[in-house]
Amino acid sequence: MPSSAAPSGQGAGGSSGGIPPAPAPEGVGLFSRVAARLRGRSALTASLLAGPTLVWLLLFLILPLCVILVYSLGSRGAYGDVVLGFSFDNYLKAFSPLWFPVILRSFAYAAIATLLTLLMGYPLAYFIALFGGRRKNLYLILLMLPFWTSYLIRTYSWIVILRTQGVLNTVLTSLHVVPEPLNLLNTPFSVILGLTYGFLPFMTLPLYASLERLDKSLIEASYDLGANRLWTLLKVTIPLSLPGIVAGTLLVFIPAVGDFVTPDLLGGPSTMMIGNVIQSQFLSARDWAYGSALSFSLMAILLVAIFFYVRRVGTEDLV
């Protein structure tokens, strides 16, 4: 959310920052006059602007969440239907020590994948934003291109690449880099690789958005004031692109924690993530009540984690 709100708001501020102070008051005056004129119709305008989204969220987010909440307090009927009730048994089960390793593993995999996408996405976004020139759009399209293919098919391709007799092992063994085919598939390695691959654009795009509107004169100023490249990167560029970093990490981390397709396809017997647990409650075990409680618990854990993350890293200007 910070990423989408920021470009429009700060873009204007960024460009006016370089302009001499004289026109600024006029701009403010114009703004306040427009605002004043709008104020009369503000209630109508506001409801017109926000209305459709609110209705959408109400129907397809709040309402289903309420249903899940109600379900989570029920129990499984004999044939896998939901018997409504009011009991916290499912939550007690959800927080049983049984799942601690699975939850820990999910967070660890997602954290490593987030770090890797950041390490790869940052230079990429930096390159496109600052050196992309007129090819910027082409690079962005190239970045998005894999999205035109189903995620399932892209993940299946990794199976073909990684398996014992797969593309990678065939190349490595025929070049005598390794004597025996490596065991790459169905390991934590392949799951983290799949997550990193799948979520890279979610990291790169917000980073690009925040680096793109970064005021280049500030970087020049940093050089002029004697900072070297590394110091400029650490003290100027990265702090200024922090909103993008926070947005990117959230956009990658949150879906990665709950992912079930990647560990399902690329994982082994011991790479189960919490998403798999929830999925199998809904489908194989057909215990929607327990599945709902697990979903809600995961949501609660994530909310707490995000709260502390944003409080620690985030600042007011993120919003």
């Binding site: 289903p64 073909v160 017997p269």
Partner: protein, 385 residues
């Protein structure tokens, strides 16, 4: 680089032919859709019950063929001419639609999907659907060919007398293995615990299927509700975990074909698909016993064209029609009269039509109702281990 070439070919097979798997690939797509679509699904849940009543009022017993028949079946589970011949003979247009897992079928019906006249759930799912009031009784007077079935399929434990279900095809759940890599293969579930094949073994993902293997190995009933026996099975499955490559209900077909998996717990027809690609792949029904399953045609409660559905069922039970389906999909037919029209290689194949002493050890999986919880809880221990 010839290998690379093969990889690319296999990739295209993965992507394009995946739905060929009767119980495969799109299950996951379905699951993703289901989870993402939960809001719509839940919204639709409310509508489910009301449509039931409207459907019932719309089926007066006018014994007249409808113009269309809506048939919802497993993907690639029919002969090419089955439907065209019916359309020609009866002048009914068949709208054919596919799914690839019982879970997906159930989710669709529960979410209020209406309008299907015939669905083809697996045995235990028939019980589940009956428990949820999703099926209606079949008027067997309109299905005289029902007498063509083997006695076993007239008296199935989940639906004695075929009141709600007419069998379509049946098969078994056994072991698919690579006869070149696994040299001393014995028809026993012990093979899936053999440490020398560590990392080359796969198990299915369905909870009851997995437990059935451990229970057979222990010599217990696959439908047991004795917590002590289930506990023992749980321990056995936890012991097995380090030996496994992964749990999979679909990718093992391709892995068997590409020699990546050497021993796979799998469905007979799926293994035959792998065999078609790689002839060292063999299918075996372990001697301790195995699960037999049968997919059956059923009529949903709100089916708009009940009579036409019954006429279609009767048509399917014509010996030639049944045989043509089996000849095409290589699953066994429940139709005894179909034998004379069957491809002899299929009829004589012990892995499709097991000999009597093996058949005697085959067990149907029963829907256990509330006791399913025992297995769900036990499976959590296996998963978390």
């Amino acid at each position: 680089m010839k290998k690379l070439d093969r990889e690319l070919r296999v990739l295209s097979v993965d992507c394009l032919n995946a739905p060929v798997s009767r119980r495969g690939f799109f299950k996951r797509a379905g699951a993703a859709g289901l989870l993402l679509g939960v809001p719509g699904l839940l919204a639709a849940c409310g509508g489910g019950s009301s449509t039931t009543t409207s459907g019932a009022s719309g089926t007066p017993t006018t014994q007249k063929l409808a113009d269309t028949l809506n048939f919802y079946n497993w993907s690639d589970y029919i002969a090419e001419d089955t439907i065209p011949n019916f359309e020609k003979e009866y002048g009914v247009k068949v709208v054919y639609d596919n799914y690839s897992s019982n879970d997906a079928l159930l989710a669709k019906l529960q979410s209020g999907a209406t309008g299907y006249d015939i669905i083809v759930p697996t045995d235990y799912m028939v019980t589940t659907m009956l428990g949820l009031n999703l099926l209606q009784e079949i008027d067997l007077a309109n299905v005289p060919n029902i007498v063509n079935l083997y006695a076993r399929f007239r008296e199935e434990p989940f639906d004695p007398g075929n009141k709600y279900s007419v069998p379509w095809q049946w098969g078994t759940t056994g072991i698919g293995y690579n006869s070149e890599k696994v040299t001393g293969f014995q028809p026993s579930w012990d093979m899936l615990w053999d440490a020398q094949y560590k990392g080359k073994i796969t198990m299915l993902t369905e909870i009851r299927d997995i437990f059935a293997v451990a229970l057979f190995k222990l010599g217990y009933d696959a439908n047991t509700t004795d917590p002590a026996q289930i506990d023992e099975a749980t321990q056995l499955l936890i012991e097995q975990k380090p030996l496994l490559k992964h749990y999979t209900s679909d990718t093992y077909i391709d892995e068997l074909a590409s020699n990546d998996t050497w021993l796979a717990h799998g469905y007979s027809g799926d293994v035959f698909q792998a065999q078609a690609e790689n002839d060292v792949v063999q299918y075996s029904i372990p001697s301790e016993g195995a699960i037999i399953w049968v997919d059956s045609m059923c009529i949903p409660t709100d089916a708009p064209h009940k009579y036409t559905a019954e006429v279609f069922m009767n048509y399917i039970l014509e010996p030639e029609v049944s045989a043509a389906i089996s000849n095409f999909v290589v699953y066994a037919s429940p139709n005894e009269k179909a034998e004379e029209f069957l491809d002899p290689t299929i009829l004589e194949d012990p892995s499709v039509y097991p000999p009597q002493e093996v058949q005697d050890k085959l067990t149907f999986m029963k829907e256990l109702g509330a006791d399913t919880e025992l297995y769900n809880t036990a499976y959590e221990k296996v998963k978390a281990a």
